[in-house]
Amino acid sequence: MAKVVFTANIQRHVLCPVTEARGQTVREVLESIFAENFQARSYVLDDQSALRKHMTIFVDGRMIRDRVRLGDAVSETSTIYVLQALSGG
C-alpha cells in the first residue's frame, strides 16, 4: 500500500495522520483516504475535485503533473506527500 503524508499545517484544521491506502493513481489513493476522513477532502481538493491551486503533491520525490484528474501513477511502495505549494500564502 502507498504511504501518504500530509503537511503539518493542515493538522490544526483537520487531523490527517500518516496513512496507508491502496490505489493505482493519486486519485484512487486519496479518495480511499477521504472516504474515511471526509472533512480532509475540501482542504486538499477544490469544488471541482481538482487539487487546490496552492497545494502540491509529490509521489516518490516527483511533483505530480495531473493536478485535475490526479492520474499520476502510484505503486505499492510509493510515498505520497500532500503539501502546501510555495505560492498563495
Binding site: N9, I10, H13, V14, F38, Q39, R41, S42, Y43, V44, D46, D47, Q48, S49, A50, R52, K53, H54, M55, Q84, A85, G88, G89
Partner: protein, 366 residues
Amino acid sequence: MSDRLLVSTRKGLFTVSRKSREWAISAVYFLGDNVSVTLFDRRDGRCYAALDHGHFGVKAPSLNSDRLGGDCRPRLSAKPDGYEEADVLGRPLDRSTARIWALESGGLDQPGVIWCGTLPGGLFRSTDHGQSWEMMRALWDHPKRKQWSAGGADLPGLHSICIDPRSSQRVWVAVSTGGIWFTEDGGASWTQRGNGMRAEYVPPEMAHDPVAQDVHRLVQCPAAPQRMWVQHHNGIFVSSDEGRTFKEITGVEPSSFGFAVVVHPREPDTAWFVPEIKDEKRTPQEGKLVVTRTRDGGKTFDILANGLPQWHAYDVVYRHALGLDDTGDKVALGSTTGGLWVSEDQGENWACVTHTLPPVYAVRFA
C-alpha cells in the same frame, strides 16, 4: 442597542465590547486566519465566520468551531466535462468558490436559513444553520451571468444580499460587476434590476446597461424597504421603488466614490458613506478620513470628521467595514490600515478603538 462589534480582519476575528462608555477589544477568534466576513444571526444568537485558509480553501464555520459537521463550505456545482468557462474578457473563470463575500440571515419566518454570496459569483442558501448549502442554480445559470465581470477582485463577486422584511421570498443581491438581481420566489427565478445606474468608464452604449454596473454595496432600509441605497464605482445612487430605478446623487463633497454605505433602520433618507478619491487612487481626499451623511435622501451631505484622522490618513474602508446598529445611532468603521472607530451619535464624534488591527474587511454590530 448593541454593545458588541464583530471585526473581521486579514488575521482573525476580533470582538470589541463597550464597557463604561469605552470600546475595547474583548476577544480574538481564528487568530492568524483570513476572516472575510462575519454574521451575527439575531434570530437565534449564532455567529458565523467566513474563513479563507489560503492553501486549504474557503470555509464557513460557526464562530467557535472550525470543524462544523459535514462539508460546510458553499461550493459550486460540478463543471460538466469539457465545459470551460470564461469571463467577458475571455479569461478562464474559476468555478471553485474563492471567497465568501456576503453572509445574511434569512427572514424571521425562516429559522436556520442563511444566505451566502461568493467570488466568483455563486449565491448559496443554507436551511440548516450552514451545515449544508444549496447553490442558487437559477441565478448561476441565467444567461446574463456570463456578462458578470471582475471588479476590484480577479473574479466577479456577490457582496450584498437584502432580504425583504415583508416577505422572505423576496431577495435582492448585488454583484461587482453584474448589477442588481431580484427574486420574488425564494431564488427559483431572477430578474435584473437597477435601471438608472450609470458607469461612465465603459463604452457609451454600455453605460446604462444594468448588468454592466459595478455596485460596490447595496443596502435596504428595513422600515421602508422600497428605499435602497447604492455605493457604486461611479458614485452614489438611490432608489425609491425597490431597486427598479435609481437616481444618481451628484455634487457630493469631498467625493462620491467609495465602497461602503449604511442606511438608518427607520429613516430611509438617512445614510452614511466613506468617500475616497475616485478609482485611480482610492485614498481619503487630502489624507483626511471623513464620513459623509445625508438626512434628506441625498439632497445635502454633512462631512463628519471629528475624531477621525485628518493628517496623512490613508485608510480605505471596504464595502462591509462600515457598520450601523439597530438604533441607527452607533456607527463603526474599520480600515485597511487597521484603524477602528466608533461613534455613538450618528457620526458627529468618533472615538478610535485601535489603529493597530490587521487590515479590516468587515465590521458588524452584534
